[in-house]
């Protein structure tokens, strides 16, 4: 899979490119997007001016310290820029891979719908609604919908799946994606995308920082960070006056250094990196988001609507047991059923052969003279006519019975057969009746097989507080049986698009956020109504348009991963914010005694870290403040560790790690830096 290639968190090339990009981010217009770093940059400029004034005035005993402080203030901004650049770099690398599939190609634009005459144009000049002819060997020039013809299409460039898929006009398999290749036959495609607005274009926008729209929680968090910065501005600004009252003369340089250590530079510097990295993780999972908002909202999901078929069960019914009747042995029934299925290439047929083999070690092969009777819509049975004259049939209960007893059907059916059929149906399975020479000998229990591991998945979701609802066209009896087996919380049986939409509206009216996935055109209204709609990439254009996420792998369980990515993004932000604020406590204990020890010697008691000198204390705090940004870049890119559990458990863990950790770490870090500074004799 191209889009899934795992890159190391940081490699040399990426770091080099990011370092250069970090420098270009000193552009004030770029900085202004991030208020906390903007303040830091302004302070850095101010510190440089103060340094210049100090030097111009002939220097002072503090000149070296001033120069170091100024240097590290600039580094603080640089590190924040670097964090964003690294995240962008990783995002871009993935985007470039995606974009490679979008390179300019020649499109065969039809002059009019009626005939096949075309003119060759650049794919970049296509407009919405253009009709294109795509023949074997051509790259599909743009996202669109097949309006004529049928072709097999290699979508490996997008999905990584090498087997070609069929795309045809009408029905649910009519969407084609730009960048994929037609391998046989031809199709006429109507362009559905506006130029530059394909799903890929949108995705690329999300992993490139400059165009990235901030998500709602990111905006709220930024407001909080600005508020905190304002408070600290008041704290530090007023401190000058209070110091003056107390008879302390503090160089402005020290105050601006204090300001930068107090404002939440750690989270401020890493905030956009977290957002970009979240999008990047999503692309890695082969999911395209139309907006960052959708991903964030995924973390809030309360109800997950999952299609039964393909998500909860394999989608094919499989043989699960043999129920003989009328004195037949189970082994004989298995034998007969197996003979009838040997040439049956459907999944059901194969599963019968499998089961017979597993259960009784049967190893029959088709006799050469046997005549296979394929399934037809008229007979609704399949089977085999053996050379010895035996006639074996299997099929739906009513058809086999009609075959056995002519029109009299079920009324003449033996009691035990009827019981067996009912028993299978009641347990949610499908009964398949087997007859030999028109005499029913038993029932094969066909069952929707629940995917392994899905039960644990649902348990995880339940622990996270997410309710799962299975949506199925089955009757309530069957649905209930499968729901019980798979551990899903609830189900919607005999679902129609209208019932689905109604269910979503009802949940939303109760205040819940609903996510669902779908592929068919008739899913479009529900996808649009759901807060999170994930469309399968092989779904219809209507479904893809209505959804806000598209899964390139067309794997409905992906919804669960999207929820995880959304949650992880929010947790990373909250954790680093908590960490950043908790850090300030240690910084106070470093800087406040350093500033005022001259006027109130008793304040030495607050120097709990026993830092070497006032100068080294202030410098250590500033250096720690800058280095912690770099140290946390990997965490911001990878995201805070997230294991599905209840909110209370998550909160307890994260408060302990990032709250208490945030209190303790800087005490250790600042002390270590101070020891180093004094050992080297820097100031």
């Amino acid at each position: 899979m191209i889009a899934n290639k795992e890159a190391p968190l940081l490699d040399a090339r990426l770091v080099r490119a990011a370092a250069i990009a970090a420098l270009t981010k000193f552009d004030p217009r770029t900085l202004a997007r991030n208020p906390v770093m903007f303040v830091t940059a302004v302070v850095a400029v101010l510190s440089t001016l103060l340094l210049a004034a100090d030097i111009a005035g002939g220097g002072s005993e503090n000149t070296v310290l001033f120069a170091l402080l100024s240097f590290w203030l600039w580094l603080t901004v640089l590190f924040a820029n670097f964090a964003e650049a690294v995240a962008e770099g990783r995002g871009k690398a993935r985007a470039d891979t995606l974009r490679a599939t979008q390179r300019e190609t020649t499109a065969k634009r039809l002059r009019d719908a009626g005939n096949r005459a075309y003119q060759e144009v650049s794919s970049h000049s296509l407009a919405q609604g253009d009709l294109l002819l795509v023949e074997a060997g051509d790259i599909v020039p743009a996202d669109g919908e097949v309006v004529e013809g049928i072709a097999s299409v290699d979508e490996s460039a997008i999905t990584g799946e090498s087997a070609p898929v069929i795309r045809e006009s009408g029905g649910d398999r009519s969407a084609v994606t730009g960048g994929t290749r037609v391998v046989s036959d031809w199709i006429v495609v109507r362009v559905t995308q506006k130029p530059g607005e394909s799903f890929l274009d949108r995705m690329i926008g999300l992993v490139e920082g400059a165009q990235r729209q901030k998500t709602p929680n990111e905006i709220a968090l930024t407001i909080l960070l600005v508020g905190m910065s304002l408070i600290f501005l008041i704290v530090v600004g007023s401190l000058e006056f209070f110091a003056h009252y107390s008879g302390a003369l503090i160089p402005v340089m020290f105050l601006v250094a204090l300001l930068v250590t107090l404002i939440p530079t750690t989270i401020g510097g890493l905030l956009s990196a977290i957002g970009i990295a979240g999008m990047d993780r999503l692309v890695k999972a082969n999911v395209i988001a139309k907006s960052g908002r959708a991903v964030e909202a995924a973390g809030d999901v309360d109800v997950l609507l999952l299609d039964k078929t393909g998500t909860i069960t394999f989608g094919n019914r499989m043989a699960d047991g043999f129920l003989p009747v009328a004195g037949t042995s189970e082994r004989t029934l298995a034998e007969m059923a197996m003979l009838a299925s040997l040439a049956d290439e459907t999944a059901e047929g194969r599963s019968i052969v499998d089961l017979a083999r597993r259960k009784f070690g049967l190893d029959l092969t088709a006799e050469t003279d046997a005549k296979f009777v394929p399934f037809t819509a008229q007979t609704r049975m399949s089977g085999v006519d053996l050379p010895d004259g035996r006639r074996i049939r299997k099929g739906a209960a009513d058809s086999v019975l009609a075959d056995a007893y002519d029109d009299a059907g079920t009324t003449r059916a033996p009691r035990d057969l009827v019981t067996a059929v009912e028993q299978v149906a009641r347990s949610g399975g499908t009964p398949l009746v087997v007859s030999v020479d028109r005499k029913p000998i038993g029932v094969v229990h066909l069952k929707d097989v629940v995917k392994p591991g899905i039960r644990e998945r649902f348990a995880e979701l339940r622990a996270m507080g997410i309710r799962t609802v299975m949506v199925t066209g089955d009757n309530p009896l069957t649905a209930a049986a499968i729901a019980a087996e798979s551990g899903v919380d609830d189900f919607l049986a005999e679902a129609t698009p209208e019932k689905k939409l109604e269910l979503i509206r009802k949940e939303q009216a109760d205040g819940r956020l609903v996510a669902m996935c779908g592929d068919g055109s008739n899913d479009a209204p529900a996808l649009a109504q759901a807060d999170i709609g994930v469309a399968m990439n092989d779904g219809t254009p209507a479904a893809k348009e209505a959804a806000n996420l598209i899964d390139l792998d067309s794997d409905p369980t992906k919804l669960i991963e999207v929820v995880m990515v959304g949650k992880q993004m929010l947790i990373s932000r909250g954790a680093l914010t908590t960490f950043s604020i908790a850090n300030d406590v240690a910084k106070y204990f470093a800087i406040i005694p350093a500033l005022f020890i001259g006027v109130y010697p008793g304040l030495q008691a607050l120097n709990v870290m026993n830092l070497g000198s006032p100068s080294s204390a202030i410098l250590s705090a500033v250096i720690f403040n800058a280095l912690i940004i770099v140290a946390l870049i990997p965490l911001a890119l990878r995201g805070v560790k997230y294991a599905p559990s209840s909110a209370a458990a998550l909160l307890r863990r994260n408060l302990a790690v990032y709250g208490l950790g945030g209190l303790v770490v800087p005490f250790v870090g600042i002390k270590a830096i101070d020891l180093l500074i004094n050992a080297v004799g820097l100031v």
Partner: protein, 565 residues
């Protein structure tokens, strides 16, 4: 701690714990309109005001009503204070107040601060006290309660546009809560010997033969509401240290309980009104832990005494008794001081200025945290809810959902408003305080040199911004500069919180309620209580630590080192 001290503390806590749940449930019933024993009076008031009691207001109209009502109250009180020499009930012949003192006093009582830059018995006529101040003592308290109730409704309601009717909430607060309780407390105080008359001052000859004028007046009724409404404005200058305001240990206990009863009860009213009593208890518990921690530190500090006096013939076995009444001792002085600063009351029974530096620091910090440790009636609850919004937002992200409080999403609008409200404390205390620390016109009021002088300035501006009203006595507040600036600080502290939190409530009211699940943030239980306390201490601590280091902390360390200023 001596057994008698412990007993007194436990008795006090037991009384609060016994009264708060009843009062909390009762107040919830009052504001849900289920109490009606004064219905005729209620109807008469609505008729007189032309109010349709069933008509509810949006948050902005509710805020408008609050502001308009308070503005009118200010104008009335300002007028009375400027013209008291023309008005009746002035047997002592008090002169009109200067405009700046009148402004300061009017703002002070309208904002439930009761900062007193004047001496009651030497400045105000009985008319000014009773018609001017006492009216505001009732309605400023009722305003706070009404706003808290409206904000609670905003949190509890689902997709609603309105928060209630201010006139109705105000009227019910006065009629069903403040009036009955005041009558009860006033009677109890009269029983303990507090005067309640309109008599002229009495000349008396003391045992030593000196002449003394004994002030009289309708003290008991005033004191009852001053405590119940967390107003704190004393009838006499030295407030509840005066033997007529607070004659006995029993009157002292009654008054202390009266200070905390309504604020503590309101935390539980909140739980009732949002339909989950545990939420109220969580807030009550967070307040309680902060209260007890503050008490423990202050009590310890005061019992240490003053090492600078160790060489003098002063017996410090009973702790630091400077500025304390012997009939109360350290334990009741500390309990009172911590209650009055925690609850935004501001009445004093000992001189806070004379507490040890660390004891004074706790009192100062109690106010600076935003008057949320039970806090002013109503104000404490909505101030605490502001911190709840912040705590839920920061920590709520850590559970991987858009932060929610009681099913309501906390989004950028709520965060913005909460931050704006929170800014009022640093602006009022640090901003205004910084000016006072350097302007010569302001510095003239500071009595003491060194760090204690800074504490005096800080205390004044903290008290004003926090709408507390108590003071470090060394600070001469009655100057035009401080009268105006402190008045502005009171306005800022009161209305920034009210406006911000009413807007938050308006925005929350309109939201859907997400039903709780295992994935939603639990806001009851010890984890949340701890988180809330942590947020308050870290945000408040980070804001005020530097200046506290220069004030009380420097003073404390200097005292230990034997340095005097």
């Amino acid at each position: 701690m001596s057994p008698t001290d412990l007993l007194q503390i436990l008795l006090f806590l037991a009384l609060i714990l016994a009264i708060a749940p009843f009062l909390g449930a009762y107040m919830a019933r009052v504001f849900e309109g289920r109490v009606g024993f004064l219905a005729p009076a209620e109807r008469a008031i609505y008729a007189a005001c032309g109010t349709d009691a069933s008509e509810e207001q949006s948050w902005s109209r509710y805020l408008g009503a609050v502001l308009l009502f308070n503005l009118a109250g200010f104008a009335l009180l300002f007028g009375i204070l400027l013209t008291q020499h023309w008005l009746p009930w002035n047997p002592a012949g008090m002169a009109p107040l200067d405009w700046d003192l009148a402004f300061n006093t009017a703002v002070s009582f309208v904002t439930n601060t009761n900062w007193q830059a004047y001496g009651g018995e030497s400045t105000l006529s009985y008319f000014s006290q009773m018609v001017g101040l006492t009216v505001q003592n009732f309605v400023s308290a009722a305003t706070g309660i009404a706003v808290a109730v409206a904000i609670t409704r905003g949190i509890a309601r689902r997709q609603a546009r309105t928060l209630g009717n201010f006139t109705v909430d105000l009227t019910r607060g006065v009629l069903y809560i403040l009036l009955p309780l005041s009558i009860l407390v006033a009677l109890a105080l009269v029983w303990q010997g507090v005067p309640q008359n309109l008599a002229a001052y009495v000349d008396a000859t003391t045992v030593e033969g000196a002449q003394q004028m004994l002030a009289q007046g309708p003290a008991a009724s005033q004191i009852a509401i001053k405590q119940l409404g967390t107003n704190g404005g004393g009838f006499f200058s030295v407030n509840s240290a005066h033997p007529y305001e607070n004659p006995t240990p029993i009157s002292n206990l009654i008054q202390m309980v009266a200070i905390l009863a309504i604020p503590a009860g309101l935390a539980l009213t909140y739980g009732h009104m949002v339909g989950d009593k545990r939420q109220g208890w969580a807030i009550f518990a967070a307040m309680g832990v902060l209260f007890l921690a503050g008490f423990a530190v202050t009590y310890w500090a005061e019992m240490q005494g003053n090492p600078l006096l160790a060489s003098l013939p002063v017996d410090q076995a009973a702790g630091n008794m400077e500025g304390k009444e012997t009939r109360f001792g350290v334990v009741n002085s500390v309990l009172w001081a911590v209650s009055t600063t925690a609850a935004s009351n501001g009445s004093v029974n000992a001189m806070h200025d004379s507490f040890t530096p660390l004891g004074g620091l706790v009192l100062l910090l109690n106010i600076q945290l935003g008057e949320i440790i039970y806090g002013g009636v109503g104000a404490g609850l909505y101030g605490m809810l502001l911190f709840v919004v912040l705590a839920v937002f920061i920590a709520g992200l850590m559970v991987g959902r858009t932060p929610e409080y009681l099913g309501k999403k906390i989004e950028s609008r709520e965060v913005k408003l909460a931050v704006l409200g929170m800014l009022s404390m640093p602006v009022g205390i640090l901003g205004f305080g910084a000016l006072a620390a350097v302007l010569p016109v302001a510095l003239a009021s500071v009595q003491d040199a060194g760090p204690h002088g800074l504490s005096e300035i800080l205390y004044a501006y903290s008290s004003a911004t926090g709408n507390n009203g108590s003071a470090f006595a060394g600070f001469g507040a009655d100057t035009p500069y401080h009268n105006v600036m402190l008045g502005l600080a009171m306005i800022l502290g009161r209305y920034a919180f009210i406006a911000a939190m009413l807007a938050v409530a308006g925005s929350l009211a309109a939201k859907k309620i997400t039903p709780p699940s295992a994935g939603s943030f639990p806001t009851h239980g010890p984890l949340f209580v701890g988180l809330l306390i942590g947020t308050i201490l870290i945000v408040g601590g980070l804001t005020f630590f530097p200046v506290l280091a220069l004030g009380p902390i420097a003073e404390h360390l200097a005292m230990l080192a034997g340095t005097k200023f």
